[in-house]
């Protein structure tokens, strides 16, 4: 088990706990990348980002450079930061917003300069009260420092940035729902096509939506160059990535590791990272949920898989939002699948029938199995209902709804039944949960 010596890109200054202040940020080299970027033509800054394979860190993993390239030819208008982190067990953007808000603001101004947008908005999940306060305070300091506002650092480039609070809705992490919310409406995802807000975004204008962690990479890329970034990782998964490790591990938390060169086993078992299985009633690993609760589960036999976007996709799941939930051998898999399904049922926006109706139906069936009132036929019924949400119940799921929330619901149910069918049947036969 080896942990690579890759430099820290987005957590480089977090050995200090005062870098959310301007003084702490400047002492650790803050805003030097922005000064450098402003001496370069905007298209050169843009080309630098397009030259690295910076896969979006929000969940979909779409290359940031390609998003940018779509907008480069249009009269650019808005940059929107997606800080609505709500995918269960994902807590890395929350960490960045609270601990290093200036790094995000620096990334925002660099991106806005490269894209020549008119205005930037940082949409922060409403429940992040401290994050909202930290980003607002940092933005005030950045304006006073001349890093945001009129004629930034005397470059002739001006930009206003606005922090916008959400109000509690998982679906607003979906970028078109986020734009609706930012327009002061219910967070209903928009009908596709158009698939990208680059075509029709905020107020119907061309817009780029980037994730907090994605933009937090930009200062380092500008300072160190695209070649230094591309030297890390492998294939399309270059650079490092934040992983939010939770569940039955000794040291849950957020870790920045080199992509592809690090495996699930490293992350979960290395003493300096997860530190092995602990914190539950079991002793051995039973299953992991990679990439958020929308992702199909992995068993212990997939521990040596590298943490790379394509590597994980080839095995039928996704790296998604960068969260990894570890479940030990005392965990009830029916209960795990039920709780995840309950989440989707509560958070469905209600626009599409398969999701609105299907999520509640699935939740009720799972609950009755867990409570001991299930029938053997319920397993087929669950899979049949899943098939209505995502025909074939395959990965990536086939789309039946406006957004991906609905078709993501079958992942945990199908994983549970396919990997632990006997455990579901024991619930039915014994009339209750064997785990108590």
């Amino acid at each position: 088990m080896t942990i690579t010596e890759a430099p820290k890109i987005v957590t480089s200054r977090l050995h200090r706990d005062d870098v959310h202040t301007l003084a702490g940020y400047l002492e650790t080299g803050g805003y030097e990348a922005l000064r450098k970027a402003l001496t370069m033509p905007p298209e050169v800054v843009g080309a630098e980002v397009e030259a690295v394979s910076l896969l979006g860190r929000g969940g979909a993993g779409f290359p940031a450079g390609r998003k940018w390239a779509m907008l480069r030819k249009a009269p650019a208008t808005y940059l929107v930061v997606n800080g609505d982190e709500s995918e269960p067990a994902t807590f890395k953007d929350h960490f960045l917003l609270e601990r290093d808000p200036h790094q995000l603001i620096e990334g925002v101004v660099i991106a806005a300069y490269a894209l020549q947008v008119a205005q930037a908005f940082i949409y922060v999940r409403g429940e992040f009260a401290l994050g909202l306060e930290r980003v607002t305070a940092a933005l005030n300091e950045a304006y006073a420092h001349g890093a945001v506002g009129k004629d930034i650092f005397g470059s002739g480039f001006s930009l206003d940035v606005v922090v916008h609070p959400g109000a509690g809705a998982y679906i607003c992490g979906e970028e078109t729902a986020l734009l609706e919310s930012l327009e002061g409406k219910r967070g209903f995802p928009r009908i596709k096509p158009p698939y990208f807000p680059a075509a029709i975004g905020l107020y119907g204008e061309p817009t780029v939506v980037n994730n907090v962690e994605t933009l937090s990479n930009l200062p380092w890329i500008v300072n160190n160059g695209s070649a230094a970034f591309t030297a890390l990782g492998a294939g399309r998964s270059t650079g490092t990535r934040l992983f939010a490790l939770a569940g039955h591990v000794r040291n849950p938390g957020v870790y920045e590791v080199e992509m592809v060169k690090t495996t699930f086993r490293d992350l979960i078992y290395a003493p300096v990272l997860g530190g092995g299985i602990a914190g539950g009633k079991g002793t051995q690993l039973k299953a992991i949920i990679p990439g958020g609760v929308s992702a199909p589960w992995f068993g212990p036999d997939q521990l040596d898989l590298p943490l790379g976007q394509d590597e994980v996709a080839e095995q039928g799941s996704m790296l998604g939002s960068g969260s990894i939930v570890v479940m030990d051998d005392a965990t009830c898999m029916v209960r795990a699948a039920w709780r995840i399904t309950r989440f989707f049922w509560r958070e469905s926006c209600g626009q599409c029938t398969p999701c609105r109706g299907g999520s509640g139906w699935l939740e009720k069936i799972l609950r009755r199995i867990e409570d001991g009132s299930g029938r053997e036929a319920d397993l087929d019924l669950l899979m049949d209902a899943c098939d209505n949400l995502a025909p074939g119940v395959s990965w990536p799921p086939k789309q039946t709804t406006i957004c991906v929330l609905g078709p993501s619901i079958p992942s945990s149910i199908a994983s549970g039944i396919r990997m632990f069918r006997d455990e579901f049947l024991v619930h039915v036969k014994e009339g209750g949960c064997p785990h108590g």
Binding site: P75, A89, N140, A167, G280, A336, R339
Partner: protein, 223 residues
């Protein structure tokens, strides 16, 4: 003209609402931030506030209510001074969140969704709050508390009751205590002129590059 005394939202909230609307190209974008301010004043979104927000933003009261009712954090029914939201999603569940929630119900003497008789506490069962490294976690008025044992829960409630956390946990409705310094620094017209000049310069550089190396731009945009 109605006397200011007849208005429900305070002059301060109205001033702040106007400042918020000025930050966006379209004032409706300030609707949700203004709802947060109304909650800061009242602890919830009252019907009078909804009507006045509609006037301020320029939409109907139904549109304000229709929007607000979509979001978990905007409350049209009274909640306690402290909204205690215990996360029970997967990461916290694996670390004993339902046992904690059960303890919270008996400690507060209310079921999930209810408010204590003294209107101090409302208990909620929350979806993932993104603090899973410290599971099980909870929020009180959106302030985080992690690694919460039943004993820690009791101590927290005791501290809140005794007013020992007034500085850390504002009363329900107050979300962000730090305010933006000033409005926008540049006008839309100034920004448009800057961007137009930048685009002309970019086009000029592209033409110069094309003249020096025919096909270079084609090659780059195709990569």
């Amino acid at each position: 003209m109605a006397a200011t005394g007849e208005r429900h939202l305070s002059e301060e909230v109205r001033t702040r609402a106007a400042e918020l609307m000025a930050l966006y190209p379209h004032r409706r974008s300030a609707l949700i931030p203004i709802c947060h301010l109304a909650q800061e004043q009242d602890g919830l979104l009252r019907p009078e506030a909804i009507t006045e927000i509609a006037e301020i933003v320029g939409v109907t009261p139904a549109e304000v209510l229709g929007t607000a009712s979509f979001y978990d954090m905007l409350h049209t029914e009274p909640v306690g001074r402290y909204l205690v939201a215990v996360c029970t999603n997967i990461a916290c569940m694996l670390k004993g969140a339902y046992e904690l929630l059960e303890h919270a119900e008996s400690a507060l003497g209310v079921r999930v969704g209810a408010t204590t008789d003294d209107a101090m506490f409302t208990l909620e069962d929350a979806e993932c709050l993104a603090d899973c490294g410290r599971a099980p976690c909870l929020q009180v008025n959106h302030r985080f508390f992690g690694d919460v044992t039943p004993q820690a829960f009791d101590a927290l409630i005791e501290d809140l009751r005794a007013g020992r956390l007034e500085d850390d946990v504002p009363h329900h409705g107050t979300l962000v205590r730090i305010r933006r310094d000033g409005g926008l620094a540049v006008t839309a017209a100034e920004v448009a002129a800057e961007r137009e000049a930048a685009r002309r310069a970019m086009a000029e550089r592209a033409r110069a590059a094309e003249a020096a190396d025919p096909g270079a731009n084609e090659k780059r945009s195709g990569s």
